[in-house]
């Protein structure tokens, strides 16, 4: 066989081998990866758009939050229309949305939406913080049908213990196919959260009772439990503060779902075997009422606090000796408008003598153990700066005692002749501190205002005679 024949045989083998295209092998998938991904995204988008009346969801951003009812219509042009019971619907803006792919298919509301607003903390129109991670991106799960689509938060992180226990789940968003009336039902709930506010009164004829609480009565009408109540509109939850029978302070924070006649607790409030969850609002008494067995729970108002904790004793145990209220350090929600008005009046009064208010100081003399009735154990100072930049102090001596878990200041005397002469100007503020019913003291953690944060501990005083007066201050 010469070289040419060998070449011919070799080429023949190549030809037979090369042309033996085995088209009979079935591929694992009918389509390539790209097509399968695109088809999946297209299917999910079609699913979202297909629902005639859109989708509804009970959105719970995290374990501390209440329920936000949503109605979402996904449009062909990749925009979505929101209707919710959040913020009177004022933030239900149209947004573009994307069914896209990161590691897994995702649903992203690409513009500012109700979701983003729920987790946004504002200072005016500017976000200052994002509670709950600014949640507006979700991942699809395997559960996606014509009637229900289950999504998970993209920003949440699932926390699992070494033993495999899930300590923190990702927020789940379940879209359920809406009916023709769902949107209207959600619209009707808008604004219903206002009645939950601590300072809500239904009309002018109803008195604003400064303190709110939850009272549980048995069948005989005997009070079994009295707790403080407050509503947090940012998180849509209520908190109940009370003491159990071992005098241990308990604060239960429970998420709220608005209903057409009141609210429902996402997890019920349980006490001595009874379980209260459905609270019905009574406008005539400005109360919420829930029933369990023979017991009745009522959220109502009162002239006196329903529960006062033991924070006031920390003044002694922590060894605090000097408190400062200094407006230049910034403000926060614990400083009431009425208190600020009293301060503003000082600047007006002292303007003719070119003195500008700087701070209030409260000195608890370390030699005079607070809580004991030692005369002049406290000095309150109103501090100003004059035009030369020199401090001007007006001091007054008080006696402080603790009564019924409140701090009580009794006026003793002005410290100097100049203080005495100017006492009428300070009388409203002196009256604030020397309220007959005393001041409710609460620890407020590290000092934090709109402009400053310090590691120093902060606290508040609330006047029990006039609870519209409250002040936030820092311990040195």
């Amino acid at each position: 066989m010469n070289i040419y024949n060998k070449c011919l045989v070799l080429l023949g083998v190549f030809l037979i081998t090369a042309c033996a295209s085995d088209n009979e092998i079935d591929p694992v998938f009918d389509e390539n990866t790209q097509s399968r991904v695109l088809n999946r995204l297209s299917e999910l988008n079609t699913l979202l758009v297909s629902s005639e009346f859109g989708w509804v969801a009970d959105y719970v951003p995290d374990d501390n939050s209440g329920v936000y009812k949503m109605h979402i219509v996904f449009n062909e042009d990749n925009t979505a229309d929101f209707t919710s019971d959040h913020n009177f619907g004022n933030t239900d803006a149209k947004t573009s949305y994307r069914v896209g792919i990161a590691q897994i298919p995702e649903l992203v509301f690409e513009n500012y939406s109700t979701f983003a607003n729920i987790t946004d903390n504002f200072d005016g129109r500017t976000s200052v913080d994002f509670s709950r991670d600014a949640e507006f991106q979700f991942n699809f799960t395997e559960q996606a049908t014509e009637t229900e689509i289950v999504l998970e938060s993209k920003s949440d992180i699932e926390v699992v213990s070494d033993e495999g226990e899930v300590l923190a789940k990702k927020t789940e968003l379940i879209l359920r196919k809406a009916s023709a009336t769902d949107k209207e039902t959600i619209t009707s709930l808008r604004g219903n959260d206002v009645i939950l506010l601590d300072n809500y009164v239904p009309n002018e004829s109803t008195e604003l009772l400064p303190f709110k609480g939850l009272v549980i009565q048995d069948a005989a009408g005997d009070i079994k439990l009295s707790t403080a109540y407050s509503y947090n509109p940012l998180f849509r939850n209520v908190s109940f503060a009370y003491e159990d029978n071992t005098e241990t302070e308990i604060e239960e924070v429970l998420g709220v779902e608005l209903t057409d006649n009141g609210f429902k607790l996402f997890n019920p409030f349980e006490f001595e075997g009874e379980s209260f969850s459905d609270f019905v609002y009574d406008a005539s008494t400005n109360t919420f009422n829930a029933v369990s067995g023979d017991s009745k729970a009522t959220i109502t108002g009162g002239d006196l606090p329903f529960f006062i904790g033991k924070d006031v004793f920390d003044i002694r145990t922590e060894g605090f000796t000097q408190a400062l209220y200094r407006p230049s350090l910034g403000t926060n929600s614990f400083i009431s408008d009425n208190f600020t008005s009293l301060i503003n009046k000082l600047d007006v009064e002292f303007a003719p003598v070119n003195q500008q208010f700087f701070q209030i100081s409260i000195d608890l003399f370390p030699t005079a153990d607070i809580g004991t009735d030692i005369e002049r154990n406290t000095r309150i100072g109103f501090v100003f700066f004059d035009s030369a930049g020199e401090r001007v102090n007006y001091f007054y001596f008080l006696n402080s005692t603790i009564e019924d878990r409140k701090i009580k200041f009794d006026f003793v005397t002005a410290a100097t002749q100049e203080s005495f002469d100017n006492q009428p100007i300070f009388q409203d503020l002196i009256d604030f501190f020397t309220a007959d019913g005393g001041l409710i003291y609460n620890n407020r953690g590290a000092f934090s205002t709109t402009t400053n944060s310090f590691s120093n501990q902060a606290a508040t005083f609330l006047n029990t005679d006039d609870p519209s007066l409250g002040v936030y201050f820092v311990w040195l």
Binding site: L11, E110, N111, R125, S127, F130, A134
Partner: protein
């Protein structure tokens, strides 16, 4: 010859036999690009930004617009077009008028991407970003949700803040494209830049003393340049002159203040030097008259 013919024939058959006509292999992207959106906003942005400048105004949130340790929320859809209009009036139109090559200037230098974020970009350490310029190709505007569409709303503070930031960021892009001579510039305030991370402790007066228009300008020579450019464009001439150029009468201040007053005046003289350098640079190297730019900006907002 015949055998060679057969070999060639067989080679041809091999080649033909291996060409599988059932599948045509063409290069494709991994994911097909999204079809051109036909919404009013997207058509507007295409007409005003993409077609003339090849620039994309990104208002649809994507993870990669911010860093993993940052948090932000998207812009309100209703705010996008008004803000884009404002960019036309307060950025594009002024540069078109002030450049010696007219519209060609921004066609060559306009950033490829303008990102609009609704909130501030919050860093993990509690600080916030007011704007970002990335490698001369992207400018990010933040707090766009603070722009109010309510009738009679006063957006002047937002506009001033935003466009100071925007012109600051664009100054970095200009520097990157037209190589500003920092060797000469840095000599003016050489020892007065603040140490890293401390510019927040510098007061406005202290910045002037150092020859800079803002505390942030003291953080680095590049930021000093960008702040100067930004303030030259966004501040009325008389206001800029009164605040940063005209010397104070130190004989009128309190005795204890005279020293500080004199130092501020020295700083103002250094600002004057910087203004001259920047104005000349913009005029000769960049081809932009900063006075026209400022006047057009102020009349556009």
């Amino acid at each position: 010859m015949r055998k060679r013919f057969y070999i060639k024939l067989m080679l041809l058959l091999v080649l033909l036999g291996c060409s599988n006509s059932e599948e045509i292999i063409e290069p494709k992207p991994i994911f097909e690009t999204e079809a051109q959106s036909q919404t009013e906003v997207d058509l507007f942005l295409k007409k005003e930004f993409t077609d003339p400048f090849g620039s994309v105004l990104i208002y649809k949130f994507r993870d990669n617009l911010i860093q993993p340790n940052q948090t932000a929320t998207p812009v309100l859809l209703e705010n996008v077009k008004p803000i884009a209009e404002l960019i036309k009036k307060a950025w594009i139109a002024p540069y078109n008028k002030a450049s010696n090559i007219g519209t060609e200037f921004l066609k060559r230098n306009f950033p490829a991407e303008i990102v609009i974020i609704g909130s501030p970009i919050l860093n993990g350490d509690g600080t916030r970003l007011l704007g970002v310029a990335d490698s001369g190709v992207r400018v990010t505007l933040v707090e766009a949700n603070a722009f109010s569409l309510e009738e009679g709303a006063d957006n002047s503070a937002w506009i001033t803040q935003t466009f100071q930031t925007l012109h600051h960021e664009f100054a970095h892009i200009i520097d990157q494209n037209f190589n500003f001579d920092f060797e000469q510039y840095i000599q003016i305030s050489s020892n007065d830049y603040s140490s890293p991370g401390t510019w927040t402790t510098v007061s406005n007066n202290d910045a002037i003393r150092r020859g800079m228009v803002t505390p942030y300008g003291t953080s680095a020579v590049g930021e000093d340049f960008a702040e100067m450019v930004s303030f030259l464009i966004t501040t009325p001439e008389d206001v800029f002159r009164d605040r940063f150029i005209t010397l104070e009468d130190c004989s009128m201040v309190a005795p204890g203040e005279i020293g500080a007053c004199n130092l501020r005046n020295e700083g103002r003289q250094r600002i004057q030097q910087k203004v001259e350098i920047i104005t000349e640079y913009l005029k000769n190297d960049v081809g932009v008259d900063v006075n026209i730019l400022r006047d057009e900006f102020l009349s556009g907002i």
